[in-house]
Amino acid sequence: MQLEQTIKSKRDVWSLVTIAVLGAYGLFLVYPLLNLLGQAVIDKATGRFSLAYFQRFFGKRYYFNTLLNSFKVTFGVTILTVGLGTPLAYIFTRYKIRGKAFVRILIILSSMSAPFIGAYSWILLLGRSGVITTFFRDSLGINIPSIYGFTGILIVLTLQLYPLIFLYVTGALKNVDNSLLEASDNLGCSGMRRFFIIIVPLILPTLFAGGLLVFMRSLADFGTPMLIGEGFRTFPVTIFEEFISELGGDDGFAAAISIIAIIITTFIFIIQRYLSRRKRFTMSSLNKIRPIEAKGLTRIVIHLYTYLLVGLSIMPQVYIIYTSFKKVNGTVFVPGYSLQSYADAFNKVGRAISNTLIIPGISLVVIVIFAALIAYITVRRRNFFTNIVDTVSMVPYIIPGSVIGITLLIAFNKPPILLSGTMLIMIIGLVLRRLPYTIRSSVAVLQQIPMNIEEAAMSLGSSKTKTFYKITVPMMAAGLIAGGILSWVTMISELSTAILLYVGRTKTLTVEIYTQIIRGNYGIAAALSTILAVLTVISLLIFNRVSKGGEISM
């Protein structure tokens, strides 16, 4: 039946949509990327092809080391998140945990904030003059090892990103039939052995997919290494500094580094695709795994593990919210509580809050419309051109956010299309980055809707356009909105693209928080972070309403 979706795919309204979408991607993604490539390989002075920028990158240890550093961080984080998130998902699926629903909310919340806010909070806790550090040093005479550098980035990103693995694996375990576990038990393989021999291979493709997402996120993260990395420089930091450098940044060199980044992520993406294709199983579970009450030592261990991990990951947020209510004197926290930070925050940064509603808000509308249209043409109108749309729309998935920012800036910083400094360029950046996710979820929704329903509408005299907005869109609505809200949450906490594209007028909350942290205005930063957290919580509550308790997927 799926193959029979060959309704006259001659020229109709959907051909126009396909052309329009291709045009938009051509202008805002393909052209900027080609332009970036041009910047990287053409010598400005001579106008000739040159690999000088690449030689400079690989020639100097300083630059090359940032690449190695990024890899250390990325692989470390990916392994740790898989190692921490998988058991947690298994515990959640297999056992009853006290306060499970609440813990689940905490896990999701801890993943939804901007990583650099976590980094900044950890500095407040464990930094040189952090509360915990000072307590241990002054009261107990113990020196806690430094949190700055590699360790700090690793801790922050791991605690930030393991929830992604948790969500992915929980989803996969829903498809594992309980009778597989029972059969394994029956054949004499149980406990840990069963987990590694039966469960892990079954969810391997999911682990690869989740791992890839963690990999991309941690590779692209800019704020964390910037704040807590100190001397430990990673890729996005280098790109940012080369581009924004006060000595008049070198576009060509930043472009070359961006190209290297894209090549690496593409390579990783292809390997991931290859591995997970080979290990895929078709599973459908009649009997889902039901949580059982754990006994004795197991019970203690799993509770300890869950509470400790989730507690650690939510602690930075809680501490930030706590400090936002502390009394401030200048830039220093003093004993006592007040709402001064909030007053200061609202006085100084009025525009950032409205920008954070407007820019991601408009982006959200554009994303939802595009995602619905693209999902429709790629699912219902498979042909050569819609396949191109399918592929091109996924490209931003593997491009780090700061690179997207740079490509847009280089492409649109001069007439005929002068967009730098506008809200539009920030919207384009957000839309490009977030569309792949929303398209995926819309495609999944659309595939659940039988083609027959649209055919019924058409046989009743409804035109193609009318069928789409009267029948298809309303049926997709819940899924579209749910996907949109998750995009919204990620967009309001986005930093790495915004930090490159913003100007005074288009500052967003995250950019403002980042600036305030850099300036040492910790009180204001904490107040703004709290406002951001409240926005996130409200959005998630709405998501829960709309999706009727549906799954959160990234």
């Binding site: 193959l3 029979e4 060959t6 309704i7 006259k8 039988p450 027959n452 329903i453 055919e455 019924a456 509408a457 058409m458 046989s459 009743l460 005299g461 409804s462 035109s463 009318k466 029948i471 309303p474 049926m475």
Partner: protein, 359 residues
């Protein structure tokens, strides 16, 4: 306005794959016409070509004298009932039925009157404000029928509309559909793989296989005089038995038993295949006339009893008899079989041709 449908040399291809090589058919005005065949035979494909959901790679499709090949789906004025009903889940029963009328921009009063009329006809008027998820399968089916018919279509197309219902409801809806079709008087094309359903409901049936129509006829025609072995085996149960035909004395010989057949169009002595339905054997213990056989097993099914009987050459055939109290036929018994020659069919050895001359 109901129409006649005529299809000339239709071709359907998916890439290199030819689903329907060359198909022609004529469906009369107000006829209940069924496309019957195993899955993958192209029956649904053909229906969807008529509806406009599939492209047409060759041939001409006509509603009366209008060629519809390039007509948009929404302009063909077709009522379609789908296997999964395709009820719009976000509309109430009434909104579902109104949908087609609204697209035709009819006056409000007329929309309401027609909607009520057809909901009433389908006995669904009391559910008109319900959401579809609160309806049973049979009720959804009724809504789908009302929705398809309310627009006064030229043609009603039905794609296995009963296959998702349970056995009892299937019988009930079968009758509803048949009565409705006669009452509304609309040309109907019905697709099914269930031969009993097809026989019960249709004026005429086209039996399809591999995209080719094997036989078009009324249910009794295709049952009693199937055009080839495929149709004979697909419609009802039958036993295929190898035999020899001799033109000299017009006799057919099975495993040493001879009987006369004078209505065969066969020019020379040749091997043939007989198709003998299980009810067309006579089984007796009181005579030595016929094929001496042994009852290998018998299965009591209430109304009928099925006997598995072994010929001397070890071929096993099936015989159906109405059950009687204290049957004298037991497994292991030796019996003599004779054949109701006027009811059997004789096919060429390759199975493609029925050798019986039309009466």
């Amino acid at each position: 306005m109901s129409v006649s449908i005529s299809i000339r040399n239709a071709v359907k291809k998916y890439g290199e794959n030819t689903i329907i090589p060359d198909l022609s058919i004529d469906i009369r005005d107000r006829e209940f016409f069924t496309l019957l065949g195993p899955s993958g035979c192209g029956k649904t494909t053909l229906l969807r070509m008529i509806a406009g959901f599939n492209t047409i790679e060759g041939g001409d499709f006509y509603f009366d004298d209008r060629r519809i090949n390039d007509m948009d789906v929404s302009k063909r004025n077709i009522g379609m009932v789908f296997q999964n009903y395709a009820i719009f889940p976000h509309y109430t029963v009434r909104q579902n039925v109104e949908f087609g009328l609204k697209n035709r921009k009819l006056p409000k009063a007329e929309i309401e009157a027609s909607t009520n009329e057809f909901l009433d006809l389908m006995k669904m008027l009391e559910f008109k404000d319900r959401m579809p998820e609160l309806l049973s399968g049979g009720q959804q089916q009724r809504v789908a029928l009302a929705r398809a018919l309310v627009i006064k279509p030229d043609v009603l197309l039905m794609d296995e509309p009963l296959s998702n219902l349970d056995a009892k409801l299937r019988l009930e809806m079968r009758q509803v559909i048949r009565d409705l079709q006669k009452e509304v008087g609309i040309t109907t094309i019905y697709v099914t793989h269930d031969q009993e359903e097809a026989m019960a409901i249709s004026d005429r049936i086209a039996v399809m296989k591999d995209g080719i129509i094997q036989h078009v006829g009324t249910p009794p025609e295709i049952y009693h005089r199937p055009s080839n072995i495929f149709v004979a085996t697909f419609i009802g149960r039958t036993n295929l038995v190898d035999a020899e035909y001799s033109t000299a004395n017009k006799m057919v010989t099975i495993d040493g038993y001879e009987f006369g057949m004078d209505n065969l169009s066969c020019e020379s002595d040749s091997p043939v295949v007989l198709s003998i339905r299980p009810e067309d054997f006579q089984m007796s213990k009181d005579t030595t006339e016929g094929i001496k056989s042994r009852i290998a097993d018998h299965i009591f099914l209430g109304l009928n009893t099925h006997y598995l009987v072994e010929f001397p050459n070890k071929q096993t055939i099936e015989i159906i008899h109405e059950s009687v109290m204290d049957s004298s036929y037991k497994t292991g018994d030796t019996v003599y079989l004779s054949i109701k020659a006027e009811k059997i069919n004789v096919f060429s050895k390759d199975g493609n041709r029925n050798l019986i001359r039309a009466a």
